[in-house]
Amino acid sequence: MSDYHLNRVLYERAREHKMAEAIGPDEVAAYDLTPEERAALADGDLDALFRLGANPYLIRRVFRRRFAL
């Protein structure tokens, strides 16, 4: 399974400088994602997103507020 659509979710938010704590299922209903990817986004589980192939720079940009620094 490609991580393309997962990264697309993050990229589109990063381009618009939108930050999030988590990204709920309603927001990503239109994307071709696996149940695992949807869960990781909904939980804001950054380690899981990384494991699933999300680009770390996009994780950082979208979930910046979740990092201590």
């Binding site: 393309y4 697309r8 680009n55 770390p56 996009l58 990092f67």
Partner: protein, 267 residues
């Protein structure tokens, strides 16, 4: 060559003593850059998934626009006013054409929007915004990445290209990014000063070619995913091989999430 990080300007009150020492190093770099009276500057930088996404992601790209945004959409976050800096379109197009002839399959962009990669160093080194910039971008952020050896070869080509230009043309080379940092990964914020000192000392001693022998795995282990940006430095080192460097500053700045160094090459 200098590190870049958004928090250098986005969080200006953080780590005041380290910030002052690092910025003193950049001020010295700026003084030397102005004294060299360049006509243009080639900036070896990397995208941070703002221009190039996974639908179209070049290994190497030359920016040939008449202007570049540095910054645009990131201005509020970076606390740097939105501005356009001049490009050198004809020079960039010549570099592109000659590069293709020489076997470097460079991509091209006429419209680039920079983040901290160009905007932050340019804010401190070239605040006037008058020196034309030709950006050469390397994919350092979305693996698989071009090899350090290939960046060394590209820098060698750029040396030959500049050598064939009119003798009175004065070209400065700047690389940004690196040194060690871990960004957006599970150990975000880690810095490895031992590796940073090794990189800087290796360059200072004129042995920059050793960096071209690094593998992706070695860099990822010792310099983190952010350390992969060292490719930008490697291209510049290849353009002036064997020259000695002078470390202007080094600070492992926790609040910037990076080992922050700047080094001048005595060409």
């Amino acid at each position: 060559m200098t590190s870049h990080a958004p928090n250098m300007t986005a969080t200006p009150d953080a780590a005041p003593e380290q910030r002052a020492r690092f910025l003193a190093g950049l001020a010295e770099m700026r003084r030397r850059l102005l004294a060299a009276r360049p006509d243009l500057v080639v900036m070896f930088v990397n995208d941070h998934v703002q221009n190039f996404f996974y639908d179209n992601l070049p290994a190497y790209c030359v920016g040939v626009g008449d202007t570049h945004w540095a910054p645009k959409g990131a201005a509020t976050f970076l606390k740097i006013p939105q501005r356009q800096v001049p490009g050198a379109s004809a020079w960039g197009k010549a570099l592109l054409a000659e590069g293709l002839e020489a076997g470097f399959d460079l991509a091209v962009s006429h419209d680039l929007e920079f983040w901290d990669d160009v905007s932050v160093p340019a804010h401190f080194l070239m605040p006037e915004g008058t020196l034309p910039i030709v950006p050469v971008l390397t994919n350092c952020v979305a693996p698989p990445l071009p090899t350090p050896k290939r960046s060394w070869a590209l820098g060698g080509f750029i040396r030959r290209f500049i050598g064939a230009r009119p003798a009175n043309e004065r070209v400065a080379l700047i690389a940004t990014g690196g040194i060690s940092h871990w960004i957006g990964v599970p150990n975000t914020g880690h810095i490895n000063p031992d590796w940073d000192h090794w990189v800087l000392d290796t360059i200072a001693e004129g042995r920059g070619e050793e960096l071209a022998g690094l593998t992706w795995d070695q860099i990822e282990r010792d310099g983190g995913n952010g350390g992969q940006e060292i490719r930008n430095w490697i291209a510049v080192l290849a353009a002036v091989p064997g020259v000695k460097g002078e470390i202007l500053t080094y600070e492992p700045v926790k609040e910037w999430l990076t080992g922050a160094g700047a080094i001048w090459l005595h060409v």
